[in-house]
Symmetry: C2
């Protein structure tokens, strides 16, 4: 995973000094030829300047470079915020001799602190000089904030006898929630497809990956997922019937990255899938899965390795979905701990408690009143989460 690459793309990551501890904090992804681009952005009403810029530029459907920094979100920084975002774009367009419209900007870190653009300008020669086909690992490091490991994933597919590649890099650890997590994800491919088709495929993939994870229910002002496709593989997706070829690989990459983000949830010691079935509708199932996956009481019980199904059923009950408490079954990795709304007994609890000692397990809630189903990935809620977030700025 250290040396993933994608034809025609180069990347780099350096330490510009935005992070005080000398870690990498400035990255770039560059496509040697103009790429088609698609994007998904935060739904938070408070948005950083870079989100406004990218939303505007993505209308052209074209991109050739992404510059991203960590250590500073450049959000709620007033008029200077947009000026500094424009400056980041300008440095890249000058350094790489691109039209400014082809440059996208992403920032992540603390909100409300002026961006030290001078540090970014000074780091430009080093950043551009380090561009390499194998630079994605450095880029992945440069976008980390509270992440404890860099997040990368790649796949290759074959269509009409020709090989194509998808690689993705993401950051995210705290403030993770469906629709508006504090996360960034950049996907590059040498597939050839029009921007509208890329947008459809990206939206579908995000729906089944980043919108299916939660760490703490909190969400951010700077999130984006960008997909650049430069067409160099010669694999062209002409019609909707070709879409599956690429969608399949894109789904794998995004789901893998989403899973890595939850696994690296701030302070997390366990990765838990909340699977709901037998609901009256998929949306009802989703309500229950989301409510259970976000319950602090459920998540602290996971941390305590306590098979506290009472908290799970109480969270399900407040989700707002139709249910009959006398029909609910609950399983821990297939061990039935609640049957028809009633505790299955001490033997079941002993087995369930053993399952909670594992680093990964599945909680299944069967409402037994319909065919609706949904699944969400979450993590436990530890003492460390509180420590990380009480101390983050200091």
């Amino acid at each position: 995973m250290q040396n993933i690459e994608c034809p025609g793309f180069k990347a780099a990551g350096v330490a510009a000094g935005l992070k005080k501890d000398g870690r990498k904090d400035l990255g770039i992804i560059f496509s040697e030829v103009p790429a088609n681009v698609a994007g998904v952005f935060t739904k938070n009403s408070v948005q950083a300047a870079c989100i406004s810029l990218c939303k505007k530029r993505i209308e052209s459907g074209k991109a050739q470079a992404i510059i991203a920094n960590s250590g500073n979100a450049n959000c709620c920084t007033g008029k200077n915020g947009m000026r500094d975002t424009m400056l980041m774009s300008e440095y890249i367009s000058q350094g790489l001799d691109l039209s400014e419209e082809m440059v996208f900007v992403a920032s992540t870190g603390v909100i409300g602190v002026p961006l030290p653009v001078d540090l970014i300008r000074s780091a430009m020669p080093d950043l551009i000089g380090s561009l390499s086909g194998y630079g994605f690992a450095d880029f992945a490091e440069a976008v980390m904030t509270t992440d404890t490991f860099r997040k990368m994933s790649s796949r290759q597919g074959i269509h009409d006898g020709k090989k194509f590649t998808v690689i993705g890099v993401a950051k995210g650890s705290g403030m993770i929630h469906p629709d508006m997590a504090t996360m960034l994800c950049f996907v590059c491919s040498d597939i050839d497809a029009p921007p509208e088709m890329l947008q459809t495929m990206l939206a579908s993939s995000v729906h089944d990956s980043f919108n299916r994870i939660t760490v703490d229910g909190d969400t951010s002002t700077n999130d984006m997922v960008l997909l650049m496709a430069n067409g160099l593989s010669g694999v062209r997706l002409n019609s909707n019937s070709d879409m599956d070829v690429f969608q399949k690989e894109l789904d794998v990459v995004l789901k893998d990255l989403a899973r890595q983000i939850v696994k690296d949830g701030e302070g997390a010691t366990k990765l838990v899938e909340i699977e709901v079935k037998g609901a009256q509708s998929d949306s009802d199932a989703r309500l229950v899965a989301d409510t259970v996956a976000n319950s602090n009481l459920v998540k602290t019980a996971f941390f305590g390795q306590d098979a506290n199904w009472g908290r799970i059923i109480a969270a399900a009950g407040r989700a707002g979905a139709k249910l009959d408490q006398d029909k609910i079954d609950i399983y821990f990795d297939g061990i039935e701990i609640v049957s028809c709304g009633v505790f299955s007994g001490n033997d079941a609890e002993r087995e369930a408690t053993k399952i909670l000692e594992k680093p990964e397990f599945i909680i299944t809630i069967d409402l037994n009143i319909g065919q609706g189903k949904a699944s969400v990935l979450t993590c436990d809620f530890s003492v460390e989460y509180v420590k990380i977030n009480a101390d983050y700025r200091t």
Copy 2:
């Protein structure tokens, strides 16, 4: 506060052995004459047997006794759950020679464990023998779970030259949330008012007290607020215009209890009021106040005494209310830390950080786009909260 009393009411609390550590766990409130009754119950779809029983009995508008236990929620206990709730009612109706219909039952504690009714039966002589006008403090102790102090409040009013009393007892600490918190509250008064009027006044008071607090966003299967009025004061509320007389005192008692509950939030070290104004509507203001008050990132920052207004504005942004980020002002106890969406500077931050060292403070968010306002009480989110809830059953 130790010796509050209300004419015609007696209460008691004893240790029946439901809690393993010998603390009080069984309580009773008794009105010497039949009282009118009003109640508000959890909206959780998963409900304990006692909730079903009380909802049915309250239709008559009459009550004379409430028996409440802690240490066991008697929820998700199947058919035996209702049998055991009925037995609790039966013991009281026999012991006090009341019609069963006049007895209300409340339970709080762990979900899904069969209720040891034998322990309750054995404790009956002691419980009934301890009934006293000054027994509310013992009762308040008997309904505590993770509470660190008992919660009581009382007020007296005068109407037409006659004195009346309102006393309230509550429990609640974790799993606190508007509409469906893990809380119980019992209010007694010697006012004389029809059940429908009591219901109107109680609903209004709950809306402005228990529905304005949050500890962790989680909610329960057993919550109820009951108000018994025995009329012994001779103060009769005849028409709607009389309601204010009583409403005023009831509001004070319930708000006081609600505040005590947040102050005793599991692991809480700070009591924080989130005040939102300038919203397009009161409901928009409420959305923002609730989202900020429930944000784990905001609450951990309070714990860390970090004036992290970025998390506050990010939470406001995802609340779903209409807002313009360039108009938002944020104050910590009147110190403006954000002006028109931008940081007010290091001096303001230094002052705001000092405010965060206080045990109680107010965060004001002015959206500056309308007249809507709302306020919610919350607490900080500490390492201790996670420890309490990871270890609660073990």
